[in-house]
Amino acid sequence: MSCRDCEACAATAPVQTAGKALVAAIVGPPNSGKSTLFNRLTGLRQKVANFPGVTVEQHTGEMTLPDGREILLIDLPGIYSLTPRSEDEQVAHDVLKGLREDTARPEAVLLILDSTNLGRHLMLAAPVLSLGIPTLIVLNMADDLRSRGGEVDTAALARQLGAPVLLVSAREGEGVDRVVEFLAGAPAAPRPVELPVLSDVPKCRAWAGRVGSKAAYLPPAPPKWTRRLDAVFLHPVAGPLIFAAVVIAVFQAMFTGAAPLMDGVKTVVAWSGQWVGSVLPDSTLRSLLVEGVWGGVGSVLVFLPQILLLFLFLGVLEDSGYLARAALIADRTMARVGLQGKSFIPLLSAYACAVPAVLATRTIENKRDRIATILIAPFMTCSARLPVYTLIIAAFIPNRPLAGPLLGSRAAAMLGLYLLGFLAAVFTARMLKSSVLKSGRAAFVLEMPPYRRPTLHSLGLRLYDRAKLFLRRAGTVILLVAVAIWVLSHLPLDRGKAPKIEQSLAGTIGRTIEPAIKPLGFNWKIGIGLITSLAAREVIVGTLGTIYGMEGEAHSEGLQAALQRDLTPGGAAALLVFFAFAMQCMSTMAVVRRETGGWKWPAVQFAYMSALAWVGAFAANRIAGLL
């Protein structure tokens, strides 16, 4: 390796600049509790789940040994073998062989296996040990093994495998200190032992069985509680009913339960914004801070309680094992549009926000199914659309009872918009899955983990991680765009003062695009709103408030009146349809880019959704105009 290469490595990999930090990798099959151990060791952000293949990404964390040395831990994706066929296996294979430039080759491996399913999980020991890297074999779920009457002789297993073996329970924290001891000691390369031909699965399985029986492995009794619970949760009648109840509960929590919290955040933001406004002298800076920064960031912060609540629910569902059952129940319905059961929960999450939904698609192993799910997720009626829908519906639809006291005309309009988004998603999924994203006959396989009690530790870490991710990613994008919009609507200066909105740059842009949106029934003011709502949908409410010379939502009555003046009923219908279809969310685009590894899919998604929105709004304008 030349000196230049060394410098390049040092610059890109902080790992190696940290002096003599040891790099260790955690390897194991899905559902072996890898991530739980990783959390125990690093105490850092990492998603823990009870759902196969949740760790599609590689997560790293640091830990400090008792003697003060630092260790960099890499949590590799869950894999069944090291044959690089899937993306996950490729990543694990490349990291362990030192083939990835972005990651240092691990000097030690923690191989995590489920002790309650050792016969099968031991198969992975063969390829991992053959790498010759110092390896500790960690048999996890010791508590389950014992309570279900299983046994294993770890000393005999260590002799069979030529590497140290520990029996731990990462969930309970049992034996984790001894994992630390292994890392703190001088890990030695495994003693060579006879290994099977790695490409031959039946031979590997037979080898694993022999090794297990020489280590006096007694498999535990089948999980009694899991069978009992499945008899209820997968019951032909009770199962779907419970499933529906869970879905409704998630919805209720997201919309009803989160409302007071969201109001609280709103109040705090408004109050602190006023305070900043009162402290600063009347200046351009004050306007930028209060209207630009506070308004922009506040519009995002409001969604934090809802997103955290959603992730709390998802966390309980995933960690308890119910999520796999939900995917099973939903599979047949999802298969009708060419998707699969694992797409269901991400799409459900998308009703809160497409950002966590896109992240939740990581549980879908099939890449085409995953991309299709990502592409249709923004059609689900996310909560950012609600302020827009509420405003327009309140302005244009008189509240009349349709079906007694149960369903009013406004509620019906809202439901109709939910249905519209859902139908667009179904239509798009069908189209994609019968053409560009047609899956081969790749088998749908879903491992059903035993039910487990979720731990506060794991749920807490997950919420912390999600909150951080959301605030950082969505917050930075929205902040930048909010400032940009503020600049556009305050420039060019008119004798040292901000111009009227129609003379500002934003106004110019609005008038420039007016010809393109005129057929939809929109004027240039709506045009400005459409542009600013590219940042986030609900921004249009604030923008229209500014344009009509009001202070946003506080004067929503006034804004409604202004809209009634400026929009025909056809234009209002068109605006609703436009918002149902258009991809107006920079945060989602940023996440889609990250998760699909490039700008190709977000660009396709944006173009497609914009086109659909234009056509849909045009049709809505014409149809509503006839009525």
Binding site: R120, V201, P202, P222, D230, P240, R332, A443, L446, E447
Partner: protein, 93 residues
């Protein structure tokens, strides 16, 4: 299809799809492309292993199968490609 007529033990060419809930079968072969067969084998569907049909989603598809200490759900179209030898109820301990 495997023809086993004339065999003393009454055996029928069957697939996992044909198993009733609670019924066991010995897996004989996986009629799947190599990659898919390998993936299922890594999950425990190795020829010679004992597979028990378990609970299913409403409508019977996908169905959960107990194999090699774990539970794996397969869609009907996949289950139909895993050939099994049925074990009569009395054979099962």
């Amino acid at each position: 299809m495997l023809q086993l007529s004339g065999n003393k033990i009454r055996r029928r060419a069957a697939s996992l799809e044909d198993l009733e809930r609670g019924e066991q079968g010995i897996l004989e072969a996986l009629d799947l492309p190599e990659d898919e067969a390998r993936r299922l084998m890594e999950l425990g569907f190795i020829p010679g292993s004992r597979v028990t049909a378990g609970m299913s989603a409403p409508g019977g598809d996908p169905r959960v199968f107990q194999v090699d200490g774990s539970e794996v759900a397969l869609r009907r179209e996949t289950a139909a490609r895993l050939r099994v030898r049925r074990r009569a109820a009395e054979e099962v301990r």
